[in-house]
């Protein structure tokens, strides 16, 4: 099979998985709507907080409410995309700990890809809708601008997924890493809430390395404010490096993976 066919096959798998996950969630129509609308209300709460903050302090380190609105637009859209397309990445540490990866090993597909696309978080649809709406309301609604926004948000989401795969895969080497991986995920999310211009010193170093919020939040906002090919290239290269690291750590860990003896029915 040619490389192109393999890529097509895996993209098809992702598409079918998302369709199936959403269709099965929509069987419980009320629950589906509550989850999506609940997440939108939840996100509105966040933007409301910063609306109040900037009423009191109009400019912080050259950052104003519009910048925060753009930050939330990018981060909620990219987070939404990540959780719709790759929600399974969040379960890797748990599956390692409970020996549940066996199920995926029996398929003739790339295991990591299959695990990542196996799950769709329904509330993330609310995040995606909210992010796009915030962009249209507060930033811009021209077609070119929206396409650039979506492109940058998707690139940010792909970096996000790599970070999650890397942190979750540590579970291969240390046993139960589920809670710690979740804390790292929340630490990353935490950085994306605040005006990015206030970070400096060692905190900035952490954002550039261990918890790469700089590439998920700071650079996308900068790129959308003032487009620069060099910045886009930096983001792209960072995605490539983290992708290589994510694939390497996952398959290196798989060598040490001990199969579980639980008999599960996969629904």
């Amino acid at each position: 099979m040619s490389q192109l066919m393999v890529v097509k096959k895996h993209l098809n798998l992702a598409w079918e998985m998302i369709k199936l996950n959403i269709a099965s969630a929509m069987e419980y129509r009320a629950s589906f709507l509550i989850q999506v609308l609940g997440m939108i209300v939840n996100d509105v709460g966040l933007i409301f907080l910063w609306l109040i903050f900037f009423q009191k302090f109009p400019v912080v380190g050259g950052w104003d409410f519009t910048d925060s609105a753009l930050l939330f637009a990018v981060t909620t859209t990219s987070f939404g995309f990540f959780m719709i397309f790759g929600g399974g990445a969040m379960t890797i540490a748990r599956m390692i700990h409970q020996g549940q990866l066996d199920y995926f090993l029996t398929f003739p597909t790339n295991t990591l890809w299959h695990v990542v696309v196996s799950r769709t978080e329904i509330p993330a649809i609310g995040d995606f809708i909210f992010g796009l709406a915030i962009y249209l309301i507060f930033i811009d609604y021209s077609l070119g601008s929206i396409l650039l926004f979506l492109g940058v948000a998707i690139l940010s989401a792909l970096i996000f997924i790599n970070f999650i795969i890397i942190t979750q895969s540590i579970g291969f080497f240390v046993g139960n890493f589920e809670a710690a991986a979740e804390q790292l995920f929340h630490a990353l999310l935490g950085f994306t809430l605040y005006p990015q211009s206030v970070f400096h010193g060692w905190l900035k170093v952490i954002m550039l390395t261990i918890i790469p919020a700089f590439f998920i939040a700071t650079l996308p906002v900068s790129l959308l404010n003032n487009f620069d090919w060099n910045v886009l290239l930096v983001m792209f290269l960072f995605w490539l490096v983290t992708l290589w690291l994510a694939i390497w750590i996952f398959y290196r860990g798989m060598r040490d993976y001990e199969s579980g003896n639980l008999i599960n029915v996969q629904m």
Binding site: Y28, A30, S31, I34, Q35, L37, G38, M39, V41, N42, G45, L46, F48, L49, I52, F53, Q55, K56, F57, V59, V60, G61, P123, A179, A180, Q183, H186, A187, G190, F191, L193, Y194, P195, S197, V198, F199, H200, G201, L203
Partner: protein, 270 residues
């Protein structure tokens, strides 16, 4: 017939077991407490830059150091309530284990309340040790009064109970709603926005403050923190009155919901 304190004794034992159980998972306890360092660090940079831009050393009667200490305490108190009671109750309702609990010789609500307080105590100690150290390193010490600390502790205890009762109501909603995750998020976001976990309520514009101080969110953890760091009798009295009214309303609500919900429970044996 046993004396009332002997009946009460079993609840203290429940607290003790929950406390020891929380200490058993030390890595989880410390990693949760560790995230407070990150948050305090972020807040220090945020509010230092913010205050520099205003050109003032105090805003709303608070310096940067006071803001950081209030946020550190609020975050420590809020974080000590994990895992969420609402999630535990939801699981019991959905899995049906609640049916077995309600037949036991104890009050279901008090059983969960004392278990929750035991867990909070264990988490609180870890959060405060790490949080206080982080605050001292980042912004130094602030002037506090013994009266403020003692009265703050009273507000904290009532605040923890208030949070428990709200969580109980959310968890019990699972009797009637298919999915209550959105209620969890909205409640947590309410705490984050109106509970002073990111922006201290004293820094809100005045017209917002009038409404926000009447809402329950600030009554849970923020007012206790503010009393400890920036004590005033007037603020304490107002907080206590609003807190007690909310406790009464939400307490009655939780009890009514529990009684209504239990009517839905059916035991099928097996």
């Amino acid at each position: 017939m046993s004396a009332w304190w002997l009946k009460f004794d079993k609840y203290l034992e429940i607290s003790k077991i929950a406390y020891q159980d929380t200490l058993t998972y030390l890595v989880s306890l410390l990693s949760r407490a560790g995230t407070i360092i990150f948050r305090i660090w972020i807040f220090t940079q945020l509010y230092t830059v913010t205050y520099e831009y205003t050109g003032q050393s105090q805003v709303g009667g608070m310096s940067v150091a006071m803001v950081i200490w209030v946020l550190m305490l609020t975050q420590s108190f809020a974080s000590s309530t994990r895992p969420l009671v609402s999630k535990l109750i939801e699981e019991e309702v959905k899995s049906g284990t609640l049916a077995y609990s309600v037949n036991k010789p104890y009050s279901y609500i008090l059983f969960h309340l004392f278990g929750y307080l035991g867990r909070c105590w264990a988490n609180l100690v870890a959060n405060l040790v790490i949080g206080v150290l982080a605050a001292v390193v980042l912004v130094g010490v602030v002037k506090i009064s013994l009266v403020g600390i003692l009265l703050g502790i009273i507000l904290l205890i009532f605040g923890l109970v208030l949070n428990f009762l709200f969580s109980m109501i959310i968890g019990l909603s699972a009797f009637w709603l298919e999915d209550i995750s959105s209620l969890h998020w909205i409640y947590q976001k309410g705490q984050m926005v109106f509970g002073g976990q990111i922006l201290p309520l004293a820094l809100f514009p005045i017209y917002w403050q009038k409404i926000i101080y009447l809402l329950p969110f600030g009554q849970m953890f923020y007012n206790a923190s503010a009393t400890m760091i920036n004590f005033s009798w007037a603020a304490f009295e107002q907080s206590l009155i609003v807190q007690l009214i909310w406790l009464l309303v939400v307490g009655v609500g939780a009890e009514l919901m529990f009684r209504l919900g239990v009517k839905n429970v059916s035991i099928n044996g097996g």
